[in-house]
């Protein structure tokens, strides 16, 4: 187990290196110098040189470093926890990320919890009542859920709750954009603002979780030991929720780890649509303005998070299921 852990961590770090090299090269061969983005055209050459030097792109005289050297500089800074400076804001990428990360974690965490809390029971009920109305409805809804991308869902939600309901005689709806200035200090208001973005992020995951849970539960229910348990006279509830569920729910751990990059993907656009001040919105803006260090920073952060969560999922799996050994 220890050896396995060490190996996995080593592979993870190697992956991060490869990815940073890949993306660094990509962002550096991109046409357009960073200084051309959102800068006063009358700026003096020496200021440009100074800024390019500060960004780690040139030496003091304004001569560009070759890309491998730039990468080594970038890596050196990365090891000190420095992801470079944003081209657009005069800020460090790490500062920007740290400002936004708590908001994103809040949104993504709640969305994931909601998805798990709804998706898993839905899948279990659908499986224990196979071919019932509930089962068919669940399959149908999860089908549609998979086919709607989160940004289209977000737009639909804005239309229904932000426009149609507000104009209806009810004059009621959820706030369209952003987080209230109160932020985390005002939980009720925060919750109110979270409803739409969380819904639009959670639907896809609910669809995936319930589908997967149903399949996993059905598979377990058809196994011999379940029939044995029923044959020896245990009640249906006990067999379903004690014997079957324990085995069926295990693969969900892995699924959650897989779901994380998906949610992050969705969050990039969803946060942009709902003006949620998180990392996704940061990436959204960085993409629109082509602020590559920020894009690179977000990619690295997400990749590190994904690798970490995959590792945690595997370890949890091994703890939860003693049959698995590494």
């Amino acid at each position: 187990m220890t050896f396995y852990l060490i190996r996995r961590v080593a592979i993870g770090i190697l992956l991060l290196f490869l990815m940073s090299a890949m993306f660094f090269t990509l962002t550096r061969v991109t046409p357009g110098r960073p200084i051309t983005v959102g800068e006063n055209p009358k700026i003096h050459q020496s200021v440009i040189n100074l800024r390019l030097h500060r960004l780690g792109l040139t030496d003091e005289q304004g001569n560009s470093y070759p890309i491998p050297q730039q990468y080594v500089l970038y890596l050196g800074a990365l090891l000190h926890g420095d992801l470079g400076d944003s081209y657009l804001n005069n800020e460090k990428v790490t500062t920007l990320l740290m400002q936004r990360l708590p908001n994103s974690l809040l949104l993504l965490g709640v969305a994931l919890l909601v998805a798990l809390a709804i998706g898993i029971p839905l899948g279990i009920f659908a499986a224990t009542r196979q071919y019932s109305k509930l089962d068919i409805t669940t399959s149908l809804v999860s089908y549609i859920g998979v086919s709607i991308p989160s940004f289209v869902l977000g737009i639909y939600l804005l239309l229904i709750f932000g426009v149609i309901l507000k104009q209806s005689p009810l004059h009621w709806g959820f706030p369209l954009f952003g987080m209230h200035t109160g932020g985390v200090d005002d939980p009720i208001d925060l919750l109110y603002h979270m409803v739409l973005p969380v819904t639009s992020l959670a639907i896809l995951q609910i669809a995936i979780f319930s589908r997967f849970m149903r399949a996993s539960m059905l598979e377990v229910l058809h196994q011999d030991y379940i029939r044995t348990a029923r044959a020896k006279g245990l009640s249906l509830e006990k067999v379903n929720y004690k014997h079957a569920l324990r085995n069926a729910i295990l693969p969900i751990i892995t699924l959650v780890a897989i779901a994380i990059p998906q949610i992050v993907n969705g969050a990039i656009i969803t946060e942009g649509i709902f003006s949620w001040p998180g990392t996704g919105q940061l990436a959204f803006q960085a993409v629109v303005t082509r602020d590559y260090p920020v894009i690179l920073g977000v990619v690295m952060l997400v990749a590190a998070g994904t690798i970490l969560f995959n590792l945690i999922a595997d370890v949890t799996y091994a703890i939860a299921d003693p049959r698995i050994r590494y």
């Binding site: 709607i148 289209v152 990059p261 656009i269 990619v299």
Partner: protein
């Protein structure tokens, strides 16, 4: 050997699978008849044998939802191909006297007009073209890259296998959307060809892994050993013996892949990283959604969004229908 009626399902359509049903006395002529299903099979007292693929088509047509989805999808695809040829430049003709014409009011602009007075229906159909073209071409790319690499990795193993798995690990742990955007930006300018190539180059791993898994299982099977014993070359074994047996899940995955790409292309267009503006796509038609929603022009948002969802849903349903048709055991 007793006369066993041929199984209606299974590897019957696969070349080389039929002759094991023949008794010793069968003449050459009868053997030929069996090889051509249905020709003179009634002499044997068995029903005309249907091939694997024909049976699959029949099973698919029995699946009502999937057939319905296929019909809707064909209507969308056909009108996306044909209508823009007839209407020509209608999608970009601007009529400044009639911007934001509401839908269902006149036959001239059935779905209304957008902010520049362009016909919304013409733009939707033109956009369908973009979505479907990107979807189909990128999946062809998936199949070429993923299929080839997956097959080779699964068949030969070794370093290629390792490289494939590591590449997949990298792609899976990065946010795919940002990857595509970064690569698109790096390859200079946003053009449709770039978008297709980038999607194909970064998204093929799913089909690659599936192909690899298929090949890993199939290469150990007896019919492959038999082919090898008969002296077939590796290339022949891969193409003639393993590939036909590995196809079913690949076809399903490719079909579902199209809907994934259609949605991805829309997301890219929405972010301004797909086909550039004068040309409409369902994604970039949604770009000004905030303004449309706040100004009461919701139809300009609803139409492209709904077109997107309906298309993706239909492709998924067809894909599932194909899955059920190709593998009747799995349901």
């Amino acid at each position: 050997m007793a006369q066993v009626p041929p199984l209606p399902i299974g590897p019957a359509g696969v070349p080389g699978a039929v002759p094991d049903q023949l008794s010793v006395e069968t003449t050459v002529q009868q053997e030929r008849d069996l090889a051509q299903p249905g020709a003179r099979a009634d002499e044997f007292g068995v029903a005309p044998e249907l091939g694997f693929w024909r049976l699959a088509v029949i099973r698919f047509l029995h699946h009502r939802v999937a057939t319905g989805a296929l019909i809707i999808l064909s209507i969308i695809v056909l009108s996306a191909i044909i209508v823009p040829i007839i209407t020509g430049d209608l999608y970009r003709i601007q009529d400044y006297r009639h911007p934001f014409k509401p839908p269902f009011q006149s036959l001239q602009h059935l779905l209304g007009t957008d902010d520049l007075g362009r016909d919304e229906l013409a733009r939707l159909l033109r956009g369908a073209r973009v979505s479907i073209m990107v979807g189909v071409l990128a999946v062809v790319g998936y199949l070429l890259i993923g299929g080839t690499l997956g097959a080779l990795a699964g068949y030969y193993g070794g370093w290629l296998d390792n490289a494939l798995m590591r590449f997949t690990d990298i792609i899976i742990s990065a946010p795919f959307l940002l990857v595509v955007i970064a690569v698109t930006a790096a390859t200079g300018g946003v053009r449709l060809t770039t978008v297709i190539i980038v999607i194909a180059a970064t998204g093929w791993y799913e089909i690659g892994r599936l192909m690899r898994a298929q090949f890993l299982v199939l290469r150990e099977q007896e019919f492959v050993q038999a082919a090898r014993a008969l002296g077939a070359s590796n290339a022949r074994i891969i193409v003639r013996h393993i590939l036909p047996n590995a196809l079913a899940p690949i076809i399903v995955s490719a079909t579902l892949g199209v809907s994934g790409i259609v949605l991805l292309e829309a997301a890219l267009g929405f972010l301004g990283y797909s086909i550039p503006p004068p040309e409409p796509s369902w994604g970039n038609m949604l770009q000004n959604f905030e303004q449309y929603l706040l100004d009461d022009q919701a139809y300009l948002v609803v139409f492209p969004a709904t077109a997107l969802v309906v298309t993706a849903l239909c492709i998924n349903l067809v894909g599932d229908g194909i899955r059920d048709a190709l593998d009747p055991r799995q349901r």
